[in-house]
């Protein structure tokens, strides 16, 4: 774990955050996440729902970068790179799926897809 210790020392020499404290970033992140969550839960349009999940991703990414800077540890930023990559891949897949689903039912309403529903048994 030598490289980690070295990088810690490197970042320790750099200026910390200015007037802005960690909490500002976290509040932004939480607000973004809440918007995404509420949007995901309240809207039925699949594209909107998908965009809401992207919002939640970015909220998590902001929180991570903030923490990373706060702790002077790059691993948080590394994770954000991962998240962005995954989110990009996921966006490609998800949009493709949404297009497919739209072709089947000619609607973007998520409620029409409930095949996995468990029929209640006594």
């Amino acid at each position: 774990m030598n490289w980690a210790a070295d990088s810690c020392a490197f970042f320790a020499a750099v200026q910390p955050l200015g007037q802005l404290a960690l909490s500002h970033y976290l509040i932004t992140s939480a607000a973004l996440f809440a918007i995404g969550l509420i949007g995901f839960l309240s809207r039925r349009n699949m594209i909107i729902m998908f965009l809401c999940t992207e919002l939640m991703f970015q909220a998590a990414a902001i929180a991570m970068i903030a923490f990373s800077r706060f702790h002077l540890d790059v691993s948080g930023q590394v994770f954000v790179i991962f998240i962005l990559t995954v989110a990009a891949a996921e966006a490609a897949l998800a949009l493709g799926l949404v297009v497919l689903l739209y072709r089947r039912r000619e609607t973007l309403n998520a409620d029409v897809w409930s095949e996995l529903r468990e029929t209640p048994t006594p």
Partner: protein, 720 residues
């Protein structure tokens, strides 16, 4: 308690010293006594497999049994002192625990030969050979069917019986013991298409198994207390040697030593058909007649007497054991005699008389005249074989007819003289007619009963002797004497209806009552050479056995069955007993003569009078129905057990399986069902739940974790 054991040991154990102290190695050729019946079994099996429809199996069996008899005779001639003949390893377990305690369990195929063994083996193989010879003719109609199977069964029987008698340890004896039970299952069930034969075979095996259990428990207790199951061995650690030296732990015994004689007794009662386990024997009449003769008369049923005689030193471990044997024997003798009086089937009468005579033998063992018991076994083997074989000859000739009301005047029919007169000899012996073999052997037992001051038992036996003489001659006067008349039986040699053939096929459906002898289709065919020859030989044997008393005495008194004080008490035998017994026998014969020859109607009249009177009605009814013992067992033991078994099955299916097992299996299923509505197919509701779940988890970590921490650390031991 210990003192009592010690005292009662006094009589037998000295003899055991004598018998066991000097065991020498015997000749290994004696092993052929076992191998020959085994070879014969295999060859008979080969005959059956190759479908050889000749008399070959009979000649193989007769030949090998005869040779094995010769081997016994040779062994007898060369006998000097008790011998030990090891043949094969069987059980040979040795162990040593970490603290150095060693132990072993050894029981091999090995012979222990003393004079008792020789006495038994001589008549077992001798009579076995003759009966096989008889069967070669008797079973003739079956040459194309079960002939080989029958003789294979005979070979199994002789093999098992030889194991039983020759065994040098109790486990091998047990092998023979179960083996003869299996052989009787095989042979009784010979006519397997007849459901009654199948049922009788099954009953014989199962009832015998109950007795076998007693024997097994006895053997385990013997091993448990004495650490060996061998009678005697070269190291001097055999059972008799331990008993003789008194080196076993008296004080450790307690109940576990004293129970041994009672358990052995149970085994003997099962095999020798005594109360309460006698019920299988009369039913065993479903087998072919030679089987009855073999099983009843000669061999199998005397195994119980042999066991008790052989184990006499063990039987004396509890002072009450032998008196119990005597009383059970006496009661069985009386009970079986009363049933025998009221039966009409010849073979059944002989069966009950066998049970009754076995009772006498057990009384003999019980009052410590093993000599008397063995003598009675010996004479009885001959005369009962005669009786069964003559009965079989009648059955053979009259197409399965055995009802004494339907055959009469046999001695006036051409070709039946030998049968009639040999039967007379047998009857005289069984009835204990003065100066017959049965008279001497029975007298020996009776006199001893009075000599040891058991008058009630004695008078009960005398009364039984009266009944014996009556029912024995009831058969003879009915069947052999009187005017000639007969009715052919329904079956041919006891086969099922689907196996008729030969003459009997031509028109047996409506046999005319009291048909004249000239009737061609139903001409009884008198026995030919093999049957007559065997009858004569065995009858001669029965007569000769009259004089064998001192010879048997010599055999018994030089074995583990010897009772030292028996010789002394011989002088105390009351002199009036033989006279009284003789008179009683004659009286019984006279009564039988009156009711069954002179005025046959008076017997029916008497029965009618008894039935008419409500006070006495129960007597003939109960006697004819065998005192309802079978029914009693059926209702008291079998049926409740059967109902219980059904209840258990229902319990198994519904309580254990359905309630518990499936119930436990349903728990997660029910739990799953209760959450089933959550899976409603609406994407957002999943998301709500997820968000709610995450919220809950966060709440849990933030709020509860500080409180849970110490407890978790305690439980998981701090994670190592």
């Amino acid at each position: 308690m210990t003192e009592a054991v010690q005292l009662s040991l006094g009589s037998g154990w000295l003899a055991a010293v004598d018998a066991a102290r000097s065991v020498i190695a015997g000749p290994s050729w004696a092993g052929w006594i076992l191998w020959l019946p085994l070879i014969s079994l295999v060859l008979c099996g080969v005959c059956a497999a190759l479908k050889i429809h000749t008399k070959l199996p009979a000649w193989i069996t007769v030949g090998s049994l005869a040779i094995s008899f010769v081997v016994i005779v040779a062994l007898y001639m060369s006998y000097r002192q008790p011998m030990e003949i090891p043949l094969l390893d069987w059980f040979n377990l040795n162990w040593r625990s970490n603290d150095g305690q060693a132990g072993s369990f050894v029981a091999g195929f090995a012979f222990y030969v003393d004079k008792l063994t020789l006495l038994w083996m001589l008549f077992v193989t001798g009579l076995g050979t003759l009966i096989a010879l008889y069967a070669s003719e008797y079973m003739e109609p079956d040459v194309k069917r079960g002939y080989a199977r029958f003789f294979a069964g005979i070979s199994v029987f002789l093999f098992a019986m030889s194991c039983l008698v020759l065994a040098d340890n109790l486990v091998m004896l047990y092998l023979g013991w179960e083996g003869v039970g299996f052989a009787s299952y095989w042979l009784i069930g010979y006519y397997y298409t007849r459901p009654s034969a199948v049922a009788a075979a099954k009953k014989a095996f199962i009832v015998n198994r109950i007795g076998d259990l007693g024997l097994a428990l006895g053997i385990w207790l013997i091993y448990y207390n004495f650490g060996t199951v061998e009678y005697a061995n070269a190291q001097g650690t055999g059972l008799f040697q331990i008993l003789a030296s008194g080196s076993y732990k008296h004080e450790a015994g307690g109940w576990s030593i004293q129970a041994i004689p009672f358990l052995l007794m149970l085994g003997a009662f099962g095999k020798s058909a005594q109360i309460p386990l006698y019920v299988w024997l009369p039913d065993a009449m479903e087998g072919p007649t030679p089987v009855s003769a073999l099983i009843h008369a000669a061999t199998m049923v005397t195994a119980g007497v042999y066991l008790l005689a052989r184990m006499l030193p063990v039987m004396e471990l509890h002072p009450a054991a032998l008196p119990t044997v005597a009383w059970i024997g006496g009661l069985t003798a009386l009970l079986a005699a009363t049933i025998g009086m009221a039966q009409y089937d010849i073979k059944r009468i002989w069966a009950y008389s066998t049970v009754s005579q076995l009772g006498f033998m057990f009384v003999g063992v019980g009052v410590l005249t093993t000599y008397g018991a063995a003598f009675h076994v010996f004479t009885h083997a001959f005369f009962k074989a005669v009786l069964f074989l003559t009965g079989g000859a009648v059955m053979h000739g009259f197409a399965g007819q055995l009802d004494i009301r339907k055959i009469s005047g046999l001695r006036h029919m051409p070709g039946w003289q030998i049968t009639a007169w040999t039967m007379l000899v047998g009857c005289l012996c069984l009835a204990g007619f003065p100066l017959s073999s049965g008279f001497f052997s029975k007298d020996e037992i009776l006199a001893q009963v009075f000599a040891v001051h058991r008058p009630w038992l004695g008078f009960m036996l005398l009364f039984t002797a009266l009944l014996t003489a009556y029912y024995t001659f009831r058969v003879w006067f009915r069947v052999c004497a009187g005017p000639v008349s007969y009715e052919m039986g329904e079956e041919h040699h006891g086969h099922g209806d689907d196996h008729h053939h030969g003459k009997a096929d031509t028109g047996h459906k409506a046999p005319p009552r009291h048909a004249p002898p000239a009737h061609v289709a139903h001409q009884p065919h008198p026995p030919r050479f093999a049957i007559n020859f065997v009858l004569v030989v065995i009858t001669v044997g029965a007569i000769i056995s009259t004089f064998s008393g001192s010879w048997v005495m010599d055999k018994v008194s030089h074995s583990s069955a010897a009772v030292l004080h028996a010789a002394d008490s011989h002088e105390h035998h009351p002199g009036w007993v033989p006279w009284l017994a003789g008179t009683i026998a004659v009286a019984g014969i006279v009564v039988a003569w009156h009711f069954h020859l002179a005025s046959r109607k008076s017997a029916d009249a008497l029965r009618a009078r008894l039935l008419a009177n409500p006070l006495t009605r129960w007597l003939p009814t109960a006697m004819e129905n065998k005192w309802y013992v079978d029914e009693f067992y059926e209702w008291m033991i079998v049926t409740p057990l059967w109902i219980f078994a059904h209840a258990l099955y229902l319990f198994d299916r519904y309580v254990i399986d359905l309630l518990f097992v499936d119930g436990v299996a349903r728990l997660p299923k029910w739990m799953g069902r209760s959450f089933q509505p959550l899976q409603n197919g609406v994407l957002q509701s999943y998301a709500v739940l997820m968000a709610g779940g995450v919220g809950l988890a966060i709440l849990l970590v933030v709020v509860l974790m500080p409180h849970l921490r110490p407890w978790l650390i305690g439980f998981f031991g701090g994670g190592g």
